[in-house]
Symmetry: C3
Subunit: 426 residues, 3 copies
């Protein structure tokens, strides 16, 4: 069961302290390279201008804690890497409770959760704690220590290109900038890794696949600043992979266009698995589709998810874990949904019936020879496929039109092509 | 009452043993020629290639029965021509019950009905019986006799062309291959014959009408193989006429396109008669529209029916008769529905108001001279007609747009043309 | 409060005997010229051909009454100028009750209302009375006197052109042909006068505004016969202003096209004020939009109303007054609705984000620097504006697309333009 395999990869990646830059990203990418040997890692220097942004300094952290007057470490980064606000500047001071409180973040409504907070573009330091523990702090001096380094370095991302017969590309993007949280976001890299393996196994593939593992926002902007012209020319469909590992629901968020091939295929693939999947709108966006579909970039990138970011209670807290939230079943369901969408794109074709009027299926053994009240329904799917196979509609469009499962029709196409009464073009 | 006239024709045609070829077809067509002297009968030789098909051998049958050991004819083709599977090969044997049973067809759920079964493209023989009688058969030897001939001959069809001012054509097709059944399908030829007479009575007709009486499927395929290029160029609208003789409901089945003139006019004509008419989709098709609308043929052929084939309990059984199913009222209702659709097509025009701003209807006696609270509504239909008569919309489209009856508007157009403030183009 | 100002103007105009021609029209227009000094009055001679119509003779009336045998004036035009059928020919006769009755108009269902009746195009005379009083008439002789003059003269209308940077025009039309009635129609001229003042106050206006005060129907036809070519070329949006002074509801009637800028802006403006506003269709039309949107004229003129003509009980009777029907609040609401629509048209622009991918709002102080669970929603409106600002959609279209208030987005556009990351074109 590949759900277990993906869950295992999540577990291995879990403890690493990831951010948008730094050693944690590199360590994560090197583990992914072990899984995908052709994955290539790139570095972009701090300060590089990428559209409206600049690649920030690289951040690394070795140790962080809060000590009380008794010398007890009441908060320790070693216990949970969410305890420190991402990109915190170094500090080593004794401060009173009032001062400390200005640097604490907690969630009164989720008193046992550590929130996930970052401050990439304004220098500050802070600790994230459970509200329960914050309530217990007494009036005394506290020793706050963050041993971090924020200085020029690089931003890393990785790219895997799996060539196919066509130069047209299917683009898949996920991100590797979140520390120890599971659905958002170890599920994305784990499912994407598994999808990459699946694509590599098909040696007869039509499309070229471009798969990237990047830090969110600044990473996709950096990647687009280097590749957007090429992508605009070549990408015919694609998906942003995020929040795809819990087992509570399926979700879909459209591209800005809303009616691209990616959108329609995502809907069809989700309908096969769970027709009650949730449909969000472009106004609910919040991940890298914001960059991929931005005005002037205009890529056809849709998103297939399980529980969407911002929509489940554990989101962006320490409760988003590999026990209660992300499960092998959840990951496998997400993998299958994404695989279903990719399978349609990869196999889609334009069928054209090669005879005028209805073909005589009987003489080819494709039609019951005895006409009775019942036989009409038996060949209905095949006849419906044939009646719309005028060469102008893709098989996927025909499946939408006649309400038949795409893959069932794909089998029928093979039968009709073998019978030499149908031709197909890609 | 023309319902009686059509019912009388059905009664005359009833006993004839029709199939897709043979003497029964010719006898049927010769009776129709008596009604429509310009109807021309064509023959196509067995073996002729017609698209993906071949015209089959001609089938004729003189006698058929099952005799028991006591010499009693327990089944006799003379009693009901549905008793023999259509295109049965000859047989003359004594067989036991077990063997006989393999050649019997009955309907357990309709135990007093003889089913209608054919086997045009695979050679076999068989008898169709009521399930009641089948249950009564005892273990003994039976003498099965079918005196049929299946050998090269011809397939016949008939065509009537009624020329009009335009070379553009309205196409009407019905079929003459069903033996003794009433709604499916003596109603089609009977209503079509009456419609042909009605069209011939209008000596000022705009369109050319092409009316064919053919065997279903192989007949329409044969006809298209000879005429499809001409039809594609000239046919602007048309109807397949089938199952149009009972008095239980009205039905509509669209063309493959679904929004052709034929479709919209059929809907309008049915709405005038019974706004609760049943609407089927192209996926419910099952008659010669399958050929006329096939990819590459692409004719705008819709279907107006009473109870649709496959949708009424007596369908394709001996219960589909001229007593309980098809009635004079049923035929007349079907005739009127089809006539209504054809009347719209024939009379449709593009009205254009010839003055800018509203015309002064008052000075032409077309508007109440005293403006009161009430008068506004009285001339509403005329003003709505005028406001949309910009030359770009047909009268039929305007009737759809303003929700007024087409024929009421047609009268108003005449008034406005007489008043010299409206012009029309065809 | 400008509602009071408009109500005051209505009160001043109330007693004047208006019709489609005559002294009352001129007196009304001279009062409007006092309010709008640049308003220019035009005269068109009786008999002038205007499209399908002719400018009628000018009608003036000095006195009218019905006297009974006791010499008592039981009906006097001085009491209410609705008492005489508009365009009544002169009369001075003693007639009996039976004869008189043929010339009386009353409303049995509104027994205390005097109806408003006119007969512009057929010569007749008549009196309009309450049904209560009509019931009280006894069998005797009555002296009927109408001192009116119907002879060649002129039809008057007024036009105000307020130039803007563009030659493209916004067109506003209202009518000044109704005698003493309030919603239909002193509200139209009063609100239009106030709107004209409001437009004049904006010295930086983009569009040219063309505002006309005309008699209904014959006035708009006359105006179009002189100006329709210019209007077709220049008018981008416009409104017919009528029935805009009571405080009971808001209403919208579309242009013939139904989806013009005027239509969509009217809907947006009404939605801001009262999302339960009534929507009529083009089939409910009944005012000068009939001329402005006629085939061949085709102007994009929509109508914003309070209670629509024909839809409120006091319509076209003496009960349509300045006490119970038209109020300062009603007029102010109507003014604000129309002003809202015009403000959108005047300020609409095409925003284009000038950076690829999302702009970094943070470095410009436009984005919270600390990313938390909550901050996403705060900048939602700005991000949604940006994501659709691809230069192809107007700000108004974007507001429709993302469901945000137009004027809120207009403020955001200013912020983004100031931040130099957005450009706009008109």
């Amino acid at each position: 069961m590949i759900g277990n395999e993906m869950h295992q990869l999540c577990t291995e990646l879990w403890p690493i302290t990831r951010s948008i830059t730094g050693d944690g990203v590199r360590k994560t990418l090197s583990i992914l390279q072990r899984e995908l040997p052709n994955l290539k890692v790139y570095s972009v220097e701090s300060g590089t201008h990428v559209f409206d942004w600049q690649v920030p300094n690289e951040w690394n952290i070795s140790e962080a804690y809060i000590e009380d007057e008794q010398g007890q470490r009441i908060i320790d980064f070693k216990d949970n890497n969410l305890h420190v606000v991402g990109y915190s500047t170094p500090v080593d001071e004794w401060i009173n409770l009032e001062e400390l409180d200005k640097h604490l973040y907690s969630l009164p409504e989720q008193p046992n959760a550590i929130p996930y907070i970052t401050s990439y573009y304004k220098e500050r330091w802070g600790f994230c704690v459970t509200h329960d523990m914050r309530q217990k702090l007494s009036k005394q001096k506290y020793h706050v220590v963050i041993k971090s380094v924020l200085k020029p370095g690089v931003l890393n991302y990785a790219e895997l290109i799996i060539p196919g017969k066509k130069s047209q590309e299917v683009f898949i993007s996920t991100y590797i900038c979140h520390p120890s949280m599971a659905n958002n976001e170890l599920s994305g890299p784990a499912v994407t890794t598994q999808i990459a393996k699946y694509i590599q196994e098909n040696h007869d593939r039509n499309y070229t696949y471009r798969i990237v593992f990047i830090p969110e926002t600044i990473g996709s902007i950096t990647y687009l600043s280097q590749n957007s012209e090429h992508l605009k020319k070549n990408v015919v469909a694609g998906f942003n992979v995020s929040c795809i590992g819990d087992d509570r629901c399926y979700s879909y968020l459209p591209s800005r266009d809303g009616n691209s091939l990616s959108d329609r295929v995502a809907i069809a693939a989700l309908n096969r698995i769970d027709s009650k999947f949730k449909r969000y709108t472009w106004l609910d966006r919040g991940s890298d589709e914001r960059q991929y579909c931005a005005p002037g970039i205009d890529l056809p990138i849709a998103t297939i998810m399980r529980s969407k970011y911002g929509e489940y209670p554990e989101y962006h807290t320490s409760l988003d874990d590999l026990v209660n939230v992300v499960t092998p079943n959840g990951l496998e369901g997400g993998f299958n949904a994404l695989k279903g969408a990719l399978d349609i794109i990869e196999s889609n074709l334009y069928p054209k019936i090669e005879v005028l009027c209805e073909p005589q299926l009987g003489k080819r053994g494709l039609y019951p020879t005895l006409s009775t009240k019942e036989t009409g329904k038996q060949v209905r799917a095949m006849m419906n496929l044939i009646t719309y196979s005028d060469g102008s509609k893709s098989l996927f469009e025909i499946s939408e039109l006649i309400g038949e499962d795409y893959f069932l029709l794909l089998d029928l196409v093979k039968t009709l092509v073998d019978a030499k009464i149908m031709s197909v073009t890609n």
